[in-house]
Symmetry: C2
Amino acid sequence: MDVTIYQVAERAGVSIATVSRALRGTGPVSAKTREKVLKAVQELRFTPSRLGVSLAEGRHAANGIVFPNLSGPYYTEVLLGYEEVASELGRSVVILSTKGRPNVREAIKELAGRVDGLVVFGSTAPDDLVAELVATGMPLVFISREPMSGADTLRSENVESARRLACHLQGHGYARFAFLGAPHQPGDDISQRWEGVSAVLKDAVEPVLTAEYTVDSGYEAALKLLRGRTRPQALICSDDEVALGALLAAEELGLAVPDDLAVTGWDDIMAARHARPALTTIRQPMRELGARAARALDELIGGVRATSAHQTLATELVIRKSCGEHPQEDPK
Amino acid sequence: MDVTIYQVAERAGVSIATVSRALRGTGPVSAKTREKVLKAVQELRFTPSRLGVSLAEGRHAANGIVFPNLSGPYYTEVLLGYEEVASELGRSVVILSTKGRPNVREAIKELAGRVDGLVVFGSTAPDDLVAELVATGMPLVFISREPMSGADTLRSENVESARRLACHLQGHGYARFAFLGAPHQPGDDISQRWEGVSAVLKDAVEPVLTAEYTVDSGYEAALKLLRGRTRPQALICSDDEVALGALLAAEELGLAVPDDLAVTGWDDIMAARHARPALTTIRQPMRELGARAARALDELIGGVRATSAHQTLATELVIRKSCGEHPQEDPK
DNA sequence: TTGTAAGCGTTATCAA
DNA sequence: TTGATAACGCTTACAA
């Protein structure tokens, strides 16, 4: 159906080898011959079949990325950075969302079969699958997973950021805290955030679980918590979406933020800036995470590096209104 | 490097044809033979090469999607719906973002070479490229582009929604309007929104251009506009991000929304709900758009349909606080 | 400078 | 029920 290299060769009156050479610039071709080939290519609107090229070259020229889901700004921002750099490097991006999928293992393996390397968010692949992938020699970059051998890992700093945030809140004079959106899985970002927060706040902070890390879950859990007997003075939320849910709950209960209750988030998604009060949060470089993942993967695929690398990116405490008054900011 | 069907065949003591049959269940295989084959497959950890399979089957089992950029919730929500359905249908998703890319044509063609069909956001592909793609017979679904033959199109309703919104604002008693984020391209969503709004509001509404449809652009343009001599009473923004920018500008100028100025958005992204005042907006079914695109594409690829289909999805006017007081809602 | 032919890893037809 | 073998569309030694 599609035009093949044979048809081009025939039309140009040369062999397919010559067509290939003329098109890729590999090997010598006389100006005259090149002319003929190019002409035939134009007339026939020939585009080499990706499948044929890949099979012969032994590479896909494509990267995969596996994330739990695409809803919420965090993963999409990372994806944005990833796609941008991957395409600069001449590689297509194949995506896979595991959320709500019955056969994650199969899906990840299937994906692995169509790409030269994979970026995987820590929470999406079970340990044994990870081991299996590593064993195949597939280039792998994990985001927000504990460093391991045989694959790169990459994440934003959490523990120290959490400490800074906790100290800042202590500076406001709060004494009773809750950490909304407590960790479910050891080793992930949330766990590290809790680790840092609880190291500073000790028994003054209580972990509170949410069903998921979403606005709705945050709302539900906050509602329940804030109706309770001993309301905390500050709510440290495990991410911005949970915090937005908490803000909604506070409003519904008639609690003024930050006067009656301080609230903080994590990530600095777009809505954090536009919420009222604007959310104090810890900004993590989401796009940069994606961009670096793409570059790391490229190195792995290219075989530039022998050993695996483990990067941690710096974050920034973004102080806005939701954590309390900052007199120095309002000189009036 | 990887295990091939030949090695499996050898180990099982059968031919590659038999291995293929045993694995795919096509053609008869004795129980005994199947046993042997499966055993060899297990031991060797054989997975059929995607490239080999695709080449032989003549299909990629993958879909592409082309969007202008991945920042901002609109495209990612559509992508979410698309990926979900595509993967249900057994197709991988290859993404391509055209933003900031020098060679869009090449990139789209390259993408077309790795997939069985393409979803394209209207604004990303120039007309002649579209014609070229259609000519190749590639299954194509356009989102928010004028209906055409040779491809499906799909979009959310705009004109009538815009009318409803304009009427609602008139009901508030406003008389001077601005449409912030005026259209740049004929035929796109923004153009249709402007069409509906201006049909109702006539000379009472003035179109105001923004550089892009982003928070920053909206902020810049709104700042300039609101500082002007004759400030409008209501700002109808072409999408939520522009509206969020306008909200920021109003705040900076000390204008109370909605008392001094009404503001509305479009799309109903997450931040619209959390902004204060919460944004009155028109919700469009972004995920559904993606989901339908995936299904339409699947029909096209499967050859189920002869003619091309053109769908328009219904929207919903979401009235919140930013457009003015609604006494009936606050019975107190 | 050009052509022949051997892969690359499958599927599927046709005999046996 | 099984096995040869011809596609599928390209790249790239190796010869000429």
